[in-house]
């Protein structure tokens, strides 16, 4: 996968390849700084922050597929956690 001046690749003993969708989902969903008090998006009643915390590299897509399968219709809940849990705090998480 190429981008402006930056290419992310994989390298194994067999050779190089493009980074997989699974790699990308794992990184963006499972790592990074967490801000408490942020709006929580839920898929089928499961808060994404918990999906992100609990899924593992081999099951990111599976988890998303299962969530998608379980819901007949996509639903969104937007919760302002800031209202329920003042004052807002952030947390550096990995």
């Amino acid at each position: 996968m190429s981008s402006n001046g930056e290419t992310i690749t994989t390298l194994s003993l067999e050779g190089e390849g493009e980074i997989s969708l699974l790699d990308i989902l794992d990184h963006v969903l499972n790592s990074g700084a967490v801000i408490h008090g942020s709006i929580v998006i839920s898929l089928a009643g499961v808060d994404l922050v918990y999906v992100g915390l609990n899924v593992i590299v081999t099951s990111v897509e599976t988890a998303l597929r299962n969530i998608h399968r379980e819901q007949e219709r996509p639903s969104l809940s937007l919760t302002s956690a800031a209202k329920a849990d003042p004052p807002p705090t952030s947390k550096l998480h990995r």
Binding site: S3, S12, I24, G37, S38, V49, H93
Partner: protein
């Protein structure tokens, strides 16, 4: 309007990224000694199904990559949404020192990830109970294999890595290397010279934003 946070970087340089998630403009502002990047999201409901979420995650990743090409970002976990840009500083204030410390720690570096997979470990039947002694024996063997590979990785990459971290996950071991930008080519070249290790497959990916190095060493946040 709700905002989706991408990352925090050092105040300079400012990176201009044309569009982000849902084709929204990517904005940035210096606050509390760091620069924060975000997009206003008209309709957060557009992220509320698996396919849209996947598409948005890829767009999020693209923005981070464009920023990573210029400077080192600390990403926010996707999707981090706040009520509006007006409350950004309020949310970042409690941990401002941690952000600044983390940015100083990863400054000028990128993250590479190496996943080690052991063929016989993948075939282990977890459903069959084993004695405590057998479990400990297997555990000891697994730790020994990880230590052997880790020793080899650290030896061959030597002075090209600023810091190593690692963890076990799902019968695999993941190593993370914080590599100064100027050492990237030497780092990859040194890994190529390492040769194969019997029974283990190593897969390298990167460069990534150094999210594994955001928390201080020994902290699990």
């Amino acid at each position: 309007m709700p905002v989706l946070l991408y990352c925090a970087t050092q105040p300079n340089p400012e990176v201009n990224v044309a569009t982000g998630v849902s084709d929204a403009a990517v904005r940035s502002r210096e606050m509390l000694g760091v620069r924060v990047y975000w997009s206003e999201i008209d309709d957060p409901q557009s992220l509320a199904d698996a396919e849209s979420l996947k598409k948005a995650a890829l767009e999020f990743h693209r923005v981070l990559r464009e920023i990573l090409a210029v400077t080192t970002p600390i990403p926010f976990r996707f999707p981090t949404l706040l009520e509006s840009a007006a409350v950004l500083e309020q949310h970042l204030t409690p941990e401002q020192e941690l952000y600044r410390d983390a940015l100083a720690r990863v400054d000028g570096a990128v993250q590479y990830e190496i996943i080690g997979t052991w063929a016989d470990e993948q075939q282990t039947d977890l459903a069959t109970p084993v004695s405590g002694r057998e479990y400990l024996k297997r555990r000891q063997e697994a730790l020994g294999r990880v230590a052997a590979v880790e020793g080899k990785l650290k030896t061959v990459t030597a002075d090209t890595v600023r810091e190593w971290r690692g963890r076990e996950q799902n019968k695999k071991h993941r190593w993370f290397a914080l590599v100064p930008r100027v050492e990237r080519e030497r780092f990859i070249a040194s890994l190529r010279t390492a040769g194969a290790s019997e029974g283990v497959r190593l897969r390298l990916s990167g460069p990534w934003p150094p999210s594994e190095f955001v928390a201080p060493r020994g902290s699990r946040g």
